[in-house]
């Protein structure tokens, strides 16, 4: 199991201002794999994402990315290594145009000379044609779903090896939520990305995930492997906590 993992979180403990939130969390993501972390509000999912990204100092444990310990590397350096996050609040740049937002994703490349930038932009526009349509519109004027697409698109522009998605369906109508998650599946299938996904819409997530962790009160309580994913009732039960 250890070999060939893209991301491995070992025994992570962390929290805010002296209050511990995560208690020894172990999560790993393999190549071309979608791993979903499910759990109720306040379970510590977002904290986990922040710790992985380096926004939060890890008190104990280590983060291994492609065999390299990145626990002490600053966030922007992690991005350069190939990890990026689509955060809960999306953090897009509302007063910049759609294309400027995407180009910010390619910040670490030489935009004019590097052919990869053009390629990645094409990939993103193919995935989300609506973004191409609105390329010169200010990002703040997009609808919620479109902003989510833009946030994912911008993350893709950093050419990541693994994508962290924090509640990409939050605040989206059910139909749209489904569409977004289908796109996430496409990222795996077509681009070969590894994805760590945090979700509250349990059954939507089970549709695309390869593996599922159930998290509660800062601990991983269950892990469902690929073969278990058919037992939706059981997952739901564990999730709701009846």
């Amino acid at each position: 199991m250890t070999e060939g993992k893209v991301l491995k979180l070992e025994n992570i403990e962390t929290g805010y201002r002296g209050v511990q939130v995560l208690w020894g969390v172990n999560v790993d993501v393999g190549p071309k794999e979608i791993v979903a972390v499910l759990g109720p509000n306040g379970a510590g999912k977002t904290t986990l994402m922040k710790a992985t990204m380096g926004f939060l100092k890890v008190w104990k444990g280590s983060i291994i990315f492609l065999g390299r310990d990145i626990t002490k590397i600053p966030s922007h350096e992690r991005v350069k290594l190939g990890i990026t996050l689509v955060p809960e609040g999306r953090s897009i740049f509302p007063n910049m145009t759609v294309e400027e937002n995407l180009m910010m994703g390619a910040y670490m490349y030489n935009i004019k000379k590097d052919h990869r930038v053009i390629e990645m932009l094409e990939v993103v526009y193919n995935l989300f044609p609506i973004l191409q349509e609105r390329r010169s519109q200010k990002a703040g004027t997009l609808s919620g779903g479109q902003q989510q697409m833009l946030a994912i698109g911008r993350a893709l522009m950093t050419n990541p090896k693994i994508l962290l998605l924090d509640e990409p369906t939050l605040g989206l109508a059910p139909k749209l939520a489904g569409e977004v998650l289908n796109t996430v599946a496409k990222l795996r299938d077509e681009l070969g990305l590894s994805i760590l996904l945090v979700e509250e819409k349990v059954l939507l997530a089970t549709n695309i995930a390869d593996r599922i962790y159930i998290m509660n009160q800062g601990r991983i309580e269950h892990e469902f492997l690929k073969e278990d994913l058919t037992k939706k009732e059981e997952i739901l039960q564990k999730y709701i906590g009846f």
């Binding site: 509000n41 306040g42 379970a43 939050l170 605040g171 989206l172 059910p174 489904g178 819409k201 709701i240």
Partner: protein, 244 residues
């Protein structure tokens, strides 16, 4: 159970072209306990914000205890006996737990002196089970504790109407029962009407008498819990989403 406490008449509210609430009308009686359910984005929180005065509705009126409160600011409604627990707890971070509850008792309730308010705060903290943490700073509480604090703050002024926004989300199952039981007891004892917003209806089902199903800003159903849950429409829209 017959006297009406809160009445919403044809409430509509839009945000930048999106209509969050569409002609919502409903009545809540004194001492009644009900749950408002609906998927994310159904307009539940907006409805709460209209009830307690954070938003002003575009059209429609709000009556509380037979007074038209549509144009009253939030703090005045609170003083009339509305109390609200926020979905994402917003305690005053660098005040102690006790002080947090005291503020509520002092300003929303009839406890005008600091001493009385402290007594009331102690009482409520005992009730919700936070008495041992009362000198902690609110920011240092865990998420479930913050929820309890939110509840304690809502209960402190002895309200007539308790608005609970996702009070059990993120709370361990064992605790859910304790909290809901507590809410029911207080409600029965002090004749407080309770409106709970919930996404996972199953958890609170046995503690409410009535369920309103909200979908895309409209009231789709308003009935006994069992009836609402057995309804095909609700299943399709709400549970169906989960079972997508």
């Amino acid at each position: 159970m017959s006297e009406e406490l809160l009445k919403l008449q044809e409430i509509s509210k839009s945000f930048g072209g999106i209509r969050a609430l569409k002609n919502v009308s409903l009545t809540i009686s004194i001492g009644e306990r009900l749950a408002i359910i609906g998927p994310n984005g159904a307009g539940k929180t907006t409805l709460f914000n209209v009830i307690n005065g954070v938003y002003k509705p575009d059209t429609g009126r709000v009556f509380f205890a037979n007074v038209d409160v549509t144009d009253l600011p939030a703090f005045k409604r609170t003083r009339m006996g509305m109390a609200r627990a926020f979905q994402i707890p917003r305690p005053f971070p660098t005040m102690s737990v006790l002080d947090n509850v005291m503020v509520s008792a002092l300003f929303a309730g009839k406890f005008k002196s600091v001493g009385e308010a402290r007594e009331r705060a102690d009482e409520v903290l005992e009730l919700v089970g936070l008495a041992n943490k009362k000198h902690e700073l609110a920011v240092n509480l865990t998420s479930p504790e913050k929820k309890l604090l939110e509840l304690a703050r809502a209960l402190a002024p002895k309200p007539k109407l308790l608005l609970l926004d996702e009070i059990v989300a993120g709370i361990p199952p064992a605790e859910v029962d304790r909290i809901m039981l507590l809410v029911r007891n207080v409600s029965e004892k002090e004749n407080i009407a309770v409106v709970a917003l919930v996404e996972h209806v199953m958890r609170v089902l046995k503690y409410v008498e009535r369920v309103i199903f909200l979908h895309e800003g409209r009231v789709l159903m308003d009935d006994k819990p069992e009836k609402v849950l057995s309804s095909e429409t609700v299943k399709n829209i709400y549970l169906g989403r989960i079972y997508d």
